[in-house]
Amino acid sequence: MKRFLLIYRYDSNALPKGSPEELQAMTKKWMDWIGGIAAQDKLDDRGNRLEFAGNMIRPNQVITDGPYTEVKELIGGYSIVKSDSLGEATVLALNCPIFMYGGNVEVRPINEL
């Protein structure tokens, strides 16, 4: 079994700003999806969400605050799954709720040190 990093990206302007019930429904979708992966014994680390704030450090010690919230593909969080192949890991991500609000998932094999 190999480990794969799932990186969640979304358009911050397209983020659902629904009622408490809608937000709760979205939370349920995420929990059910992650729970489904865990039920297959393929979840390594549920990961975390990332807050909006942050810093961008570029060469020559140039620091700006960012990424800006207008960025189209803001990294929102990550998880780590385990699987025998990239194909299988990709299948796990097919039902990710992020697609419901125009986001995407990047699946990358981890090259263990």
Binding site: K28, M31, D32, I34, G35, G36, A38, A39, Q40, D41, L43, R46
Partner: protein
């Protein structure tokens, strides 16, 4: 209580206390001697009380005899030490030895014994056997009978485990805070497995298996009664055991056959135990860390209400999701899928079940049998038949046969 029932009752409660106090006082080396002293005390009691009737204060009588026998033992050893090993220092004057059988020391000793017996240097299976033997006072024959194996196997296992504890020089002391933090989860696991041996019994011996449940709960109580081990997890496990025990009577019919949850008579569920479970669950939820025991206890709480509501099953589903995030296990994965069916519908659950693919597990097939019922009955029967083939006990087999019969009759 009449004399006939007095001794077995006292044996259950006092034997383990005497052994615990003696072991704590003299160390793990002396387990065998401690058991001998306790055993002889009760032998003397049954002889003396059989002739003259029980004394006014039976417990005090037992403790006095135990103290005297212990002093005799030490005297003999002192003579041995003096004559044979004169260089040995530190041999106490046997008349000054005091065996402290106060309530406080009994509590400390029992806690110390639990942590000594549930030690990671021996296997979990061995821990359960030792717990039953030393902590609960079950004999080799009783344990062998309950585990459907023979006495020699159990005897050897117990001897090896005691020897391991001796060779590792395990100290019998109340645990430090560090030890509690490091080992309590594992100790709780042993108690939980002990409870499960009683609850999910394969053997028909319902009476002794019920006792295992009671014993597990008693040991858990000791953890709760000691401040250092009175953690939220310990309370959560106790709450879980209360909830499950509340259905012990309802689970078996007069022929000793098991009755499934959906078919149980709610009026025979023990409401007092449910109330107790609620109380300890509240205690358990006061902590900040959520362990698997809090989650399992909360799931068990939802099951104390038989009514099928969306809220119940949605809550249970989310609890199972969180449980899987903490620790995966096939049973939890399958139970979660059942909850998913109830909360989100059978079709989604069938898709998820397909991804799980635990085809060696009888529970997997009985789950699929249940999910396929009224969607594709021939597939349902197929899975129930596989579950029947894989079944590991008579009650499991009977339950599968019942389901197959129901569906075959429905097909006409």
């Amino acid at each position: 209580m009449d004399d006939q029932h007095l001794i077995p009752h006292l044996f259950r409660t006092e034997y383990r206390k005497i052994v615990a106090v003696l072991c704590k006082r003299f160390g793990i080396d002396q387990i065998a001697i401690a058991e001998d002293i306790a055993g002889e005390t009760f032998l003397l009691a049954s002889e003396a009380w059989g002739l003259k009737g029980a004394p006014e204060n039976p417990t005090a009588w037992l403790y006095t005899v135990a103290k005297n026998k212990t002093r005799d033992q030490i005297k003999h050893r002192a003579v041995f030490m003096k004559n044979v090993v004169p260089e040995i220092k530190g041999v106490q004057d046997p008349d000054e030895v005091d065996i402290d059988l106060s309530v406080g020391n009994i509590k400390d000793s029992q806690l110390a014994m639990i942590f000594a017996v549930c030690h990671p240097c021996i296997s979990q299976e061995a821990q359960i056997g030792l717990a039953l033997n030393i902590l609960c006072g079950f004999g080799v024959a009783e344990i062998a009978h309950a585990f459907l194996t023979n006495k020699e196997v159990i005897y050897k296992r117990l001897q090896r485990s005691k020897e391991k504890l001796r060779s590792e020089m395990i100290k019998i002391e109340p645990p430090t805070l560090t030890e509690v933090n490091e080992r309590l989860e594992s100790v709780l696991m042993t108690l939980y497995l002990l409870f499960n041996e009683g609850y999910y019994s394969g053997s028909q011996e319902t009476s002794i298996r019920t006792e295992f449940c009671i014993e597990a709960m008693q040991l858990n109580r000791i953890l709760i009664d000691n401040d250092i081990s009175n953690t939220p997890s310990a309370n959560a496990l106790f709450s879980l055991m209360c909830f499950q025990s509340s259905r012990l009577t309802a689970r078996t019919d007069e022929h000793g056959e098991s009755i499934l949850y959906d078919d149980q008579d709610v009026s025979s569920w023990d409401q007092q135990l449910i109330e107790k479970g609620n109380y300890y669950l509240n205690q358990a939820l006061k902590g900040t860390r959520l362990s698997k025991y809090q989650l399992e206890a909360t799931i068990a709480f939802w099951h104390t209400n038989k009514e099928d509501t969306q809220e119940k099953w949605e809550s249970i589903l989310q609890l199972y999701n969180r449980l899987l995030l903490i620790e995966y296990s096939p049973i939890v994965a399958l139970s979660r899928t059942y909850a998913l069916a109830k909360a989100n519908g059978k079709r989604e659950a069938l898709i998820e079940a397909g991804k799980i693919g635990l085809t060696d597990y009888p529970l997997y097939h009985s789950l699929l049998g249940n999910l396929y019922t009224d969607i594709d009955n021939s597939k349902a029967i197929e899975h129930y038949r596989t579950a029947l083939k894989l079944a590991r006990s008579n009650s499991e087999r009977k339950a599968m046969e019942k389901e197959i019969a129901k569906l075959t009759n429905a097909e006409g």
